[in-house]
């Protein structure tokens, strides 16, 4: 018999805010030592009250808009009760009854075709801390407590591991380009709900949940393993399937049942009286919409139309920084395709040489556009432009002044170049003779001498041709 896979996802994404969700501590990425980013509020001391970080609401709404969700105009927080030493208040502040976003969709393209996956809801919540075990002791690190998360819950609409990974990659690109999350290692965590049914059946099979995975590779492996386990159970009666929570073991590539106690817990959810309901009025929503980045699909299409390659589009959508630099430079009147090459090839090359990454790039759209325009207008050649770019990237010089100071902007007419070439040939009689005598290598020496004399001005190809002409 053929079986169909039915998968739903719960994805936790850590938001890129400067401070935690209910206090002014910096996010845990700023921490060097355990408990660096901790205050009386996020470590659960008495008397301290949570105060809502507005930015978290705005990022959650932006994520909802990107996923075509309805935005709740009235949203509230609830407390989820459980004891664990990494949870300082013994409750987590989350959203149960009035989540911030509901009813969205994401369009997926895979090798098997296209599908719309429905988003059930997005809610805001706080992260827990972390335990460090050493010998007979366990230590608590609260750096991560109250770091803001959104949880994106889908309907059971995925039919393959490939669709799941496509969806997650898409979320990652969207959230990076939208400044919602850096989506670094571990900042995106998934719970996968999975069941299997005979093809054509409308009923759902027995569902298991695989908890807390962050690498796409592990998620794919886990889904494939678990699907096969379900199919084997149905087809060959290898075991009886039960609804349960499982964890994926990377080393063995298998899933294992977790203690049942955890699935049966009564979390005694109830409204948090310390946080007033949040009202999102028209004015606020419009403001968030105005600042919302273009939807990732529209954005990719726009770049494609501008002639930017798929590989480059991928790189652009992975980083909000590159995207912003590109868009703003284009907005200043530069050619999109050229601008993409300047950023993704030239800037990236310079940084790589210095042992840096694109995240270290500090060139402004204004400076970049001024270089590109000098090249596009023909007032300097591309080589000179690249020299200026190196100086801008490494020392943040002013491109126009640097160009003048280095004499890169000399308008060199053909006659002037001819005169320079003549003087070089006159000064290198031996090399000229060698070349004419058949030593091809001598040409390079003469060409080099000409370029030095011209100080990078003029188009190298044109100079080369002129030189060849003179040496005939």
């Amino acid at each position: 018999m053929n079986y169909e896979l039915v998968i739903g996802l719960e994805t936790h994404v850590e938001l890129s805010t400067e401070s935690k969700i209910f206090c002014s501590c910096g996010g845990h990425s700023a921490a060097n030592e355990p408990n660096d980013c901790v205050c009386p509020a996020c470590s659960g001391m008495p008397g301290m009250l949570p105060v809502m970080n507005k930015k978290v609401v705005e990022l959650a709404v932006t994520a909802g808009l990107m996923l075509n969700c309805e935005i709740s105009r009235y949203t509230t927080f609830d407390k989820k009760n459980y004891y664990y030493p990494d949870l300082p208040c013994a409750y987590q502040i989350t959203q149960l009854n009035h989540p911030i976003c509901t009813n969205g969709t994401v369009h997926l393209k895979t090798s098997k075709g296209e599908r719309d996956v429905r988003i059930k809801q997005i809610h805001m919540e706080e992260d827990a801390g972390k335990l460090v075990h050493s010998g007979n002791f366990s230590y608590v690190d609260f750096n991560r407590t109250s770091v803001p998360l959104i949880e994106i819950v889908t309907q059971p609409d995925f039919r393959s591991a490939e669709e799941v990974v496509t969806y997650l990659s898409k979320l990652k690109s969207m959230f990076r380009s939208g400044g919602i999350s850096e989506c670094e290692e571990g900042a995106m965590r998934c719970d996968v709900n999975i069941s299997v049914r005979p093809e054509g059946s409308e009923e759902f099979g027995v569902r298991t949940e695989i908890k807390n995975m962050s690498s796409f590779e592990a998620i794919e492996k886990a889904i494939n393993y678990e699907a096969q386990r379900h199919i084997d159970a149905l087809e060959y009666e290898t075991e009886e399937l039960v609804q349960e929570t499982r964890r994926f073991d990377d080393a063995s590539g298998k899933t294992f049942a977790m203690r049942n106690k955890e699935t049966e817990a009564d979390y005694r959810y109830f409204p948090d009286a310390n946080l007033m309901p949040i009202i999102i009025d028209d004015e606020w929503l419009e403001e968030i919409k105005k600042n919302k980045p273009v939807a990732i699909d529209d954005k990719a299409d726009k770049y494609r139309e501008e002639g930017i390659s798929e590989k480059e589009i991928d790189m652009i959508l992975q980083s909000q920084k590159i995207g912003t630099l590109l868009d703003e430079t284009i907005a200043l009147g530069c050619n999109p395709k050229d601008t993409a090459a300047w950023i993704l090839t030239d800037c990236a090359g310079i940084l790589r040489k210095d042992g840096k990454t694109m995240e270290d790039l500090s060139v402004t759209p204004e400076k970049l556009s001024s270089i590109i325009k000098m090249v596009e207008s023909g007032s300097i050649n591309r080589n000179a432009g690249k020299k200026i770019l190196i100086a801008v990237v490494e020392s943040n010089v002013d491109p126009v002044e640097y160009c003048k100071a280095q004499g890169l902007d000399k308008k060199v007419d053909t006659a002037a170049i001819g005169a320079v070439l003549d003087s070089v040939l006159a000064a290198n009689e031996q090399a000229v003779a060698d070349y004419k005598g058949g030593k091809v290598k001598a040409f390079q020496a003469l060409f080099g001498a000409c370029m030095r004399e011209l100080k990078g001005a003029g188009d190298p190809q044109m100079i080369k041709e002129a030189l060849e002409e003179k040496l005939k």
Partner: protein
């Protein structure tokens, strides 16, 4: 010294209940569970008073987490001393000019009435809750003990007004209250069902007070209403649930008491909390945990939230006809010591006089052993009435 956990400044002129944080001073809410806890910050109300030149003399004893009848069950109070109302007594005896307390279930109001001093539980949201050792966030309020309505007014104005550190704090920057010399024509109602609960002594005191009001030109009417009883049931459910949740952070892991006998994390929790909390707190935790459980949530917690809405609407209607309600605050004129095992039921029963103010956030003022409950932001009315009677008595 008998009033205080420890004396902070012998020249200080205000007292602060142990349920309120004072920077650097042990703040344990009368509980062994928080033994030795020293906060890094003072409550906003304390800071505002200090900015106006007041200074804290000491932290006054409270019953554990301020949940008992009149403050008798502190882990720290000397058992040989008089057992209740430390802050109210400190004000009565003139040791301080005013004191701060947290009203979550009427305890501070009852203590003030027994000691014969004034206490104001202000409108919810007008005074910052930052720095309260919180139990029931949706109805607890920081209030003021003083000898008369004029001093109450002065202190309440200093501590009220918006605080960005408290998400439930209302936006108004300041509140100004006015005391009118005349209360002629004020309409006061008395609830028959509440009077009926009281012993002869209380009935006589209330009657005598009503006569004074009438003499000053106020109109007093008796009405029949079960609003207070309904409000009490709802508040006991909400208060217990919220308290159960808020004290769950006291788990022996981070600060306060940790049991010496445990082999794993579950034992650390169970043993620390079993040793740290008194019987009344445990009863509140159990009751609160029960009303929040899956099977009971809809019929208990959720229903109480809906009752809160109904009580709010009904009280607003009442306030269209009257300026305030006059009630006793304890059913017995003389305090009788009782056992902590009876505390939960006793507090539940007596809170019928007080719960409505916590449930819907209206102000309540104790003066001369009686209680006035007014409309939201109706502090001026309550203070004017209390002032007029107090002035006559001087």
């Amino acid at each position: 010294m008998k009033y205080y956990m420890e004396e902070i400044n012998k020249n200080g002129n205000i007292a602060v209940d142990d349920t309120i944080l004072v920077k650097g001073a042990v703040s344990a809410a009368g509980s062994y569970m928080l033994d030795g806890f020293k906060p890094l910050f003072s409550a906003e109300a304390v800071t505002r008073l200090e900015e106006k030149g007041y200074s804290v003399k000491g932290k006054t004893h409270v019953g554990e987490f301020g949940l008992d009848l009149v403050g008798e069950f502190s882990y720290y109070a000397e058992k040989t001393e008089k057992l209740y109302g430390a802050a109210a007594e400190a004000v009565k005896d003139g040791d301080v000019v005013a004191a701060l307390g947290v009203d979550v279930n009427g305890t501070t109001r009852r203590a003030a009435a027994l000691s014969g001093v004034d206490f104001l539980k202000p409108t919810y949201g007008t005074v910052s809750r930052y720095g309260i050792i919180s139990t029931a966030a949706s109805g607890e309020q920081l209030g003021v003990y003083a000898k008369d309505a004029d001093k109450i007014k002065e202190i309440a104005e200093i501590i009220s007004g918006h605080d960005e550190k408290d998400g439930t704090s209302l936006p108004e920057k300041t509140y100004a209250y006015s005391i009118n010399e005349s209360i002629s024509g004020k309409r006061v109602c008395v609830i028959k069902e509440l009077i009926d609960k009281c012993d002869e002594g209380v009935k006589a005191n209330t009657k005598a007070y009503i006569e004074k009001l009438k003499a000053l030109g106020a109109q007093v009417e008796e009405i029949s209403s079960d609003l207070f009883k309904t409000a009490n049931t709802a508040w006991q459910i909400l208060m217990s649930a919220e308290t159960c949740n808020n004290v769950s952070r006291y788990d022996g892991v981070k600060y306060g008491h940790r049991s010496e006998t445990y082999k794993n994390i579950d034992e650390l929790y169970v043993n620390s909390r079993s040793e740290g909390f008194n019987f009344l707190t445990k009863a509140v935790i159990l009751y609160g945990s029960d009303v929040l459980s899956k099977n009971r949530y809809n019929d208990c917690y959720d229903k109480s939230l809906r009752v809160r809405r109904v009580v709010y609407d009904e009280f607003k209607k009442l306030m269209e006809k009257y300026d305030c309600v006059l009630t006793p605050v304890l059913s017995k004129a003389e305090y009788e010591a009782y056992d902590i095992y009876e505390a939960f039921g006793k507090v539940f029963e007596e809170s019928e006089f007080t719960s409505i103010a916590n449930l819907i956030g209206v102000p309540a003022l104790i003066s001369d052993g009686v209680q006035f409950i007014g409309n939201h932001f109706g502090e001026s009315t309550l203070l004017s009435i209390a002032h007029s009677v107090e002035k006559e008595g001087k």
